[in-house]
């Protein structure tokens, strides 16, 4: 359980571009890295009738989610020769146009980083107990459905 604390995933509110830049910059002394693959999930203003999504509010079963993120992390390190992996997921309100998920993998050769990144994103969507409540411009809400 200790290693989960070392790899804090949840952040309050959106993942900011400057935070992403800092994450990238931190790898510039890791000279064996040849490839980074980054996935960013951005909140869309999906239409529902005449309303549109203004924001998504994320909640989580936090203890279980953290265990699951840890499991996904460990599995990816076992399966792919990764040098680094970082996952950040928002909790709370993230507005349309802002970023709510970042998966960042690094490896010597490009295929490993790309394959790992894709698999981690798929597993997060399917396996991690997080829920997004779409908040419409008129303040109505609806629970988001992943596809």
């Amino acid at each position: 359980m200790k290693s989960e604390k070392k790899h804090k995933v949840f952040v309050e509110g959106p993942v900011s571009p400057s935070f992403i830049a800092e994450s990238i910059e931190k790898h510039n002394k890791k000279f064996s890295i040849g490839a980074h693959s980054i996935f960013l999930g951005q909140v869309r203003n999906d239409k529902h009738g005449e309303q549109e999504v203004a924001a998504i509010e994320y909640t989580s079963y936090r203890e279980m989610a953290e265990e699951k993120f840890h499991e996904i992390r460990e599995d990816a390190f076992k399966k792919f020769p990764l040098i680094c992996m970082h996952i950040y997921h928002s909790l709370g309100v993230v507005k349309a146009g802002e970023i709510s998920l970042m998966v960042f993998t690094s490896s010597v050769h490009r295929k490993d980083a790309m394959d790992a990144c894709e698999e981690i994103v798929e597993r997060i969507k399917k396996e991690v107990p997080v829920w997004g409540k779409e908040i419409f411009s008129n303040e109505n809400t609806r629970w988001k459905i992943n596809n």
Binding site: Y61, K144, N146
Partner: protein, 77 residues
Amino acid sequence: MKINVLAFGQIADITGKSELEIFQVNSTGELTQVLEKTYPQLKSGNFLIAVNKKIIQKNTELHNEDTVALLPPFSGG
């Protein structure tokens, strides 16, 4: 014999609270029967059940102070 029940997302909207305590049930099957009496909308069954953070696929024996979570479809990311 006390079971801690956690409700999330749409399920918490139905129960009106995110934490419940249910007494005198010995299995997840019994627990959902009790909950469905109080909250008939749960009969739609559109949720998974986790016992102590592990998702279970079939009726599972419960023990005192177990935590049962009712998990509607995930929509993170």
